[in-house]
Symmetry: C2
Subunit: 353 residues, 2 copies
């Protein structure tokens, strides 16, 4: 998929640390409940139906481009579509404690019984949504594809949902590490195939989300998470589409992450982006990293924080502005707009060479 014709390719250039006129900005979960237009659609369909209905998924994917003016769309979907396609029974009931699987996978037998993922068949609805979104975006901005990282997928599959202490996932890696590796191997292959298919369908850039990498000790993170992200990066089929790796709570591993083969490392809000840039030292671009709860504050305070983050990153190439985690469902739309507009209006001074 050629990107020559994109009217706004700022994110792709920033991802490759090429010159840009200003810092590009998008945010995780930008298509979601804080938008009245999204809530309107959700009155008619539940979350999973929305994911699985390409024309509706495309519609909500494009909403933040039109309403907020972000520099990229990210395909509306969920990281748990992979385990569901591998045979797990996924239930997402809003206001009932997050997604869950009725049949958690904890034994080697249960792992072996999982289906192999064939994205073109099993996740055709995502690929169709990507194609439709690309058509409707009409080259205005790039489209971001995404997947959960193997470790994060494992936690949901083994716990059967969200968790406080991740007891079952931890028991698997400590007591039966070979089972964990068998599952992670399957997931790494599935993720690589899935992201390759998303790129083939038209995604201009893809992000791997490791939401739960931060619950691991550094050694365990290396063994059970990073190893498989690296494997994905080695086997993903792509031309010049960049890959973003976002591991929440894992800034301790920035130096390792710089060598994964990803173009961009996503940073949550609990680490100084100026220090991160020094550690990364030009090996990748950086994405982030405003505290998502700042969108609860007010336009002045948000402006102050955006300026602070821009100044910390400084006049270096390779910054994609984002929150340090997903946008929260009940933030005021005007605050989100203030955030995007400040990045757009104030970042040019850092890109004058």
């Amino acid at each position: 998929m050629s990107t020559d014709s994109l009217q706004n390719d700022l994110i792709l250039r920033a991802a490759k640390q090429q010159p840009v006129e200003r810092t590009p900005v998008w945010f995780m979960r930008q298509a979601g409940r804080y938008l009245p237009e999204y809530r309107e659609i959700r009155k008619r369909v539940d979350f999973l139906t929305l994911c699985k209905t390409p024309d509706l998924a495309a519609e909500v994917t494009i909403q933040p481009v039109d309403i907020i003016g972000v520099d990229a769309a990210i395909i509306f979907s969920d990281i748990l579509v992979i385990p569901e396609a591998m045979g797990m029974n996924l239930i997402i009931e809003e206001n009932k404690g997050g997604p869950r699987f009725t049949n958690p996978v904890r034994s080697r037998h249960e792992i072996d019984m999982l289906l192999d993922l064939e994205p073109i068949e099993d996740l055709r609805y995502v690929l169709d949504a990507i194609k439709l979104t690309k058509q409707e975006l009409n080259n205005r901005v790039p489209l971001i594809g995404f997947s959960g990282a193997p470790w994060t997928l494992l936690t949901y599959m083994v716990e059967g949902g969200g968790s406080k202490n991740f007891r079952h996932a931890k028991e698997m890696i400590f007591n039966n590490p070979n089972d964990a590796h068998a599952l992670l191997e399957r997931l790494a292959q599935a993720v690589a195939k899935y992201l390759s298919a998303q790129i083939k369908a038209g995604a201009n850039i893809v992000q791997i989300f490791d939401t739960w990498g931060g619950i691991l000790s550094p050694d365990a993170f290396e063994e059970f998470s990073l190893r498989y992200i690296k494997q994905i990066l080695e086997s993903i089929k792509r031309n010049d589409e960049p890959v973003i790796v976002f591991c929440k709570g894992c800034a301790h591993a920035l130096d390792d992450m710089a060598t994964l083969g990803a173009e961009v490392i996503g940073l949550d809000w609990t680490f100084d982006i100026g220090k991160a840039r020094e550690i990364i030292d030009g090996r990748t671009a950086l994405q982030g990293n405003m505290d998502p709860t700042l969108l609860y504050s007010n336009p002045d305070r948000i402006r102050q924080e955006v300026l602070c983050i821009l100044e910390k990153y400084g006049s270096y190439p390779g910054h994609i502005f984002n929150l340090g985690h997903g946008v929260l469902p009940d933030v005021p739309v005007d605050n989100v707009k203030a955030f995007v507009n400040t990045v757009k209006n104030e970042s040019g001074r850092y890109h004058q060479d």
Copy 2:
């Protein structure tokens, strides 16, 4: 309170980076639900009654010394006794989502209405429990006192309990930072008085718990948490009793924490203790840092992890072994014993000079 007569003062020596024969070990929440002897007492009294009944508090405080063989006792109490003593209505119902306050503090008026803490009157039951525990311990091991850090206390007081995104606490620091500072100032004074009173009552060492420091960006952590911990360290009345500062999820600030004036920095399990030692570079001792969920595994795996952490810390003075967070309520007692025994039996080789 002289420590000359303590039969086991390993933790005090390690805290001061003095030579020890082996690495000392205790763990956060060591008096708790994983012990059948503790559960037996809890059948008769609820959690808060236990905190407020000195002879029972002393009894459960000493249980892990007798049963597990840890190198220190930590007084059985809760960090939320300070806000309760300042006039908040504390409710702790087990299995009902953690402690909560029925009257959260969110406005300047509500902050101004809080009472000043007079530990000798308001928290006499803690001081009495410390005196009684000291008597009953009969100098076998040191007694640790503790308090929540101002920031962590603020989160519970403002949220009215636990929280997912800490929206109200974040709104206060972003929208009304002066209110937050007014509250933190009050809390820092209260904590300093409370810890001074605990030391006067017989605590040989005290720990400040900042459980929620890790939800802040580094700048906000500096402004709303560390500043007040430093203030406590400047005003606490003590002779040679060491202070441990434990901030969960804050390894990004290790370099700053080394200059607080605390003898020991507690480290959670998400940062390499060998790297932490290099950053700290002898300015403080370090406490930690095994993943608490490892106690769900088995004695062999626990032994392997203990050896790994001992090796990472190496032959330097100033290591107090601990988990990276509190012991979980449902771990097998035999695993806890295996953890303690491995530290005791295997750490001598790192202390042969």
